[in-house]
Amino acid sequence: MGFSGNLKDFPFPDILQVIAREKKNGILLVEWKDLIVAYYIKNGQIIFARPIDKITRVYTEQNFPELLRKLRVKEEVIPKILEKYLLNRLDQREGIFSLIFGFIKYRSDEKAPIPIEQIILEASRKLTPMEVRRKISDDMLTFMITPEGKEVVKNLKLTPVEEKVLELIDGHRTVEDIRRELFPTPPIEINRALYGLWSAGIIKRVRRGKRHKPEGLTVDILKRIIEKVKEL
């Protein structure tokens, strides 16, 4: 099971968001303009990156500890590798990605050198105004901090704007309110922060107000509609 797409239409924070939420093992393959990189995923975290000449290599070399031995990669250099092949490429848009879950065999003790939520925030900081508008598309959007978000954020390095935005998230303030309160911070920076925090699962959307019961709608009518649709 997996999925594929184009980085122009489906930017990095959104791919990482799916990886983080699914919490599975697998490989993210990105065919960049200049090279192909395999990103190794363990429990929804990116733990390693490796440029490859042939895509088939990731299928033939499924044992991760063995692969590290073969490549002579020491644990302490992995953050540098991730920086080179992932963080430094987050502003690039030309590339095809495919995500395949399963098949990689890990030990139990490999750890992610950079939390995926941090990478999501970094990637969100590089989004264009048009890309940001795809997610922060309504000024009336309202957010609250998730229970997990409170814990996750303790291990992240936020920018001053992200910190200020997070302080204002209370389940009541709209995007418009936050922009007004943080004036003269540029709206794009605020929107990027919201994009990143939302994609990283630190905040979530809340519905503004209660859903209104349509006039004249009774339980009896609802039951009749349900019965009718079942009969179709």
Partner: protein, 191 residues
């Protein structure tokens, strides 16, 4: 075509109309969804697609709305309104959203480049017309379809009470299932 639609709406004035909205990005399968379940031949406002990118996907597109109907009993009719998919027609979301009982947002599961449009539609209705909503991951019969649980994660719906269900808009049982899921959500909310 709009004249026909107006005539249809006016001649049924004595019946109570219950409105459900079928929304979603361009080419998500909204018109087909309504065609599959409506008891009348749906009234559509389709025009030839003009933009090159859109022409490569389909020849005709909805520019105002689609309209289908299911008669519930002598006093009630369920109206299905399909919104146009392209965001340049988003003023119609506002017009059609008023008074809706619930919304089904269809997504083309094979086309991740349209997911952000689906997200914008969900944001719009959640902010402006907060009614029960279901996301239908359409085209699940195609080999490269994203599974519903991944679409749920991609649309930031994993922490919300909006179900994402598999849909094949050409299959009547699948369309019925989507409608019933929405109706159950409405029942949970207001029943």
């Amino acid at each position: 075509m709009l004249g026909l639609l107006k005539k249809e709406l006016l001649k049924r004035d004595n019946k109570k109309k219950i409105k459900i909205l079928i929304s979603g990005p361009f080419a998500a399968g909204k018109t087909q969804f309504i065609k599959t379940i409506s008891e009348i031949e749906p009234l559509t406002t389709e025009k030839k697609t003009t933009k090159d990118k859109e022409k490569s996907v389909k020849d005709f597109t909805t520019v105002a709305m689609d309209f289908g109907k299911i008669t519930i009993d002598d006093e009630h009719e369920l109206y299905l309104f399909g919104t146009p998919g392209q965001s340049r027609f988003d003023f119609m979301w506002d017009i059609l959203g008023k008074g809706a009982l619930g919304i089904i947002v269809l997504v083309d599961s094979t086309n991740p480049q349209t997911f952000h449009e689906a997200r914008q539609i969900i944001n719009f209705f959640e902010s402006n017309y907060p009614v029960p909503m279901v996301v239908g991951a359409n085209k699940q019969d195609l080999p490269d379809a994203w599974p519903p649980e991944m679409i749920k994660a991609a649309l930031n719906l994993d922490t919300e009470d909006i179900p994402v269900i598999p849909v094949v808009a050409t299959d009547k049982e699948s369309v019925k299932n989507a409608l019933l899921t929405l109706l159950q959500e409405i029942y949970k909310e207001f029943g």
